[in-house]
């Protein structure tokens, strides 16, 4: 089996047993990027020299036997919305073409301290706005399972890299489903931690009350390992939580016997593909067999989560994206007669269509005369969604549903219809608005395309989501399926 298709845990063991070196491992992954990168376009930039330098450092650490951590020497991909010092960051936008961050995101710094190896920056929808990666200002990402289909978004590059063997694991960011949905569409494991669990310092902001950084990995244990490395309070992000970080591997194998699992009836949405519904119903049977109690629950405001999100997220985005003025960093259009014209030209040329749509939608919702009807109303609906989850979690330990109502769709299928594109996130958005955490794990294939099972746990109970996900993974073999590009070696 190729090194590039193995898990963090397996590779860590091989590294500490001196069976392989991190340089060998990193070269194996870089080789796979060379072999298939032109088919997936998972990366916007590959940091080969940095990766090999970090791999040599990791090998030194392992040789000395000191400071060896679970991620030491493991090649990881970083979504291009996260700043890595001296490595270009674009957030998938032309407006940031050539921008070189002068500092590291906290999550990046934490991975560097662990001795992880940075392979490069992964492609994504522009400013993380999208569900298919077709909003990348550079080029769309192709799904490793079927190159004519989207990998999901916005962390589609990170998900495609893990699914194609172009990374062992990756970081993504999730504002309305941007980790879980691409994980579902690429047969990988992806987790959105609770808001505040992971520092946002150095994350290029989309919607500041919703954004969270999280892992995309090959299996649940790897997800726990990567989350462990990035979770915890950060003095540089006052919205990061002081809530203690548990040991996420501890109790991972405890199983679900005696647990109460709720199935929100609203999550079987209109337009859900029959194969997806069938796979989720199959998963319920698995949990029942494992000794969990399954009960139907109701999250009555699920139907207004999507509209509330499409007010709150664009409103916050319109404010966050006001900083792109071409004066301090990024591309400047030139040719304006005064500073205002210069801003307008820079932003007209630098932003893509979806980003412009959301800036205008958000500006409109916040503008005089509409604030109460749109923004305030949406924030109140957010309260209702939070209460829905609180009531449900009085009765059950975790919630279960599909991650995405469909499997990966063909490139171009939804680009002309923004509303149809937004519906991709209909079952992932509530977790962002509701301050809870969620994970997507593979739960089957439909005509050779992966289906994702979403497990939602209460806020700051990531260990519950991981444990429920792991029980399913251990009891089934859905996780063993691999994309055509990575081979069937597993």
């Amino acid at each position: 089996m190729n090194l590039f298709s193995r898990s963090i845990r397996e590779l860590h063991q091989m590294l500490v047993d001196h069976e392989i070196s991190s340089v060998e491992l990193t070269e194996s992954v870089l080789g796979q990027i060379d072999a298939v990168g032109r088919q997936t376009h998972a990366y916007l930039a590959v940091t080969r020299d940095l990766a090999l330098r970090q791999a040599r450092d990791a090998d030194d650490r392992i040789r000395e036997g000191a400071r060896v951590r679970p991620l030491t020497g493991i090649p990881i991909a970083i979504k291009d919305v996260l700043c890595v010092e001296d490595v270009p960051a674009t957030a998938g936008s032309k407006i940031l073409d050539g921008f070189i961050p002068p500092y590291n995101a906290t999550v990046v710094e934490r991975l560097a301290k662990e001795g992880a190896v940075f392979l490069g920056k992964t492609n994504c929808d522009e400013f993380a706005m999208g569900s298919s990666n077709e909003n990348s200002g550079y080029r769309p990402v192709h799904n490793p399972w079927d190159l004519d289909r989207v990998p999901g978004g916005s962390s589609g590059g990170s998900a495609a890299a893990v699914a194609s063997g172009e990374a062992i694991a990756a970081l993504g960011s999730d504002t309305g489903g941007s980790i879980r949905q691409p994980a579902a569409l690429t047969g990988t494991v992806g987790m959105k931690p609770t808001y505040g669990r992971v520092s946002r310092y150095g994350l290029i902001a989309f919607a500041s009350s919703l954004d969270q950084v999280g892992p995309i990995t090959r299996d649940v244990a790897d997800c726990a390992i990567l989350l462990q490395a990035i979770a915890g309070a950060d003095a540089r992000d006052s919205t990061s939580s002081p809530h203690p970080v548990p040991d996420y591997l501890d109790g991972l194998e405890t199983g679900v016997h005696g647990m109460r699992i709720g199935v929100p009836k609203e999550y079987f949405v209109k337009g859900m593909e029959p194969a997806v519904e069938q796979a989720v119903r199959g998963a319920l049977e698995v949990y029942q067999r494992l000794g969990a109690t399954i009960e139907e629950v109701s999250l009555p405001h699920s139907d207004v989560a999507l509209p509330a999100y499409y007010i709150i997220a664009p409103a916050e985005a319109s404010s966050n994206l006001a900083r792109y003025d071409g004066a301090r960093y990024g591309v400047q259009a030139g040719g304006g007669h005064n500073v205002i014209e210069e801003y307008e030209l820079t932003r007209q040329q630098g932003f893509g269509a979806e980003v412009k749509r959301r800036i205008m939608l958000g500006t409109y919702a916040l503008s005089s005369g509409y604030y109460d009807a749109f923004y305030l109303k949406a924030q109140k609906v957010r309260t209702l969604i939070i209460e829905d989850f609180q009531r449900a979690f009085e009765k059950v330990d975790a919630l279960l549903g599909a991650t995405s109502p469909t499997v990966a769709f063909p490139l171009g299928a939804k680009t002309q219809d923004p509303v149809a594109m937004y519906l991709n996130d209909i079952i992932t958005i509530p977790a962002n608005l509701g301050n809870v955490c969620g994970i997507s794990v593979p739960c089957g294939l439909a005509d050779g395309l992966p289906i994702g099972l979403q497990i939602i746990a209460p806020g700051f109970r990531e260990e519950v989501a991981l444990r429920v996900a792991r029980a399913f993974e251990a009891a089934t073999d859905f996780n063993r399926a691999r994309s055509a590009l990575i081979g069937t070696a597993a």
């Binding site: 505040g196 009350s209 071409g326 990024g330 210069e342 932003r347 205008m360 109140k380 609906v381 939070i386």
Partner: protein
């Protein structure tokens, strides 16, 4: 959402674009107007929710101030902060005239 509100007009699209400092072509005005109308129409579903008894959630975390000791520490150097700027003079960002 305001009930019986007339549909988003081209003028409103131009106004919003101006507020957002977003240059916009006449073709874009029409296209964005139609797309935003569709999106706003989908968002009207918000009116279905009875929010009369709940406060707004402005932020997921409890409202509280996060304080730290006021200790001097190194920050980004002027050179590093200006490194990405298209135009710089005497340690400042240089922009076009605000008033002509």
């Amino acid at each position: 959402m305001p009930e019986n509100e007339p549909e988003l007009s081209s003028d409103e699209v131009r106004h919003v674009a101006r507020l957002a400092r977003l240059g916009i072509t006449p073709e874009e005005v029409t296209r964005f107007r139609d797309q935003l109308r569709n999106i706003l129409h989908a968002i009207e579903a918000l009116n279905r929710a009875d929010t009369s008894r709940v406060p707004a959630t402005a932020h997921p975390l409890q409202e509280r101030n996060v304080m730290r000791d006021d200790i001097r520490a190194p920050s980004l150097s002027v050179e590093a902060a200006l490194r990405n700027a298209p135009s710089v003079e005497d340690g400042y960002f240089k922009v076009k005239a605000i008033q002509e």
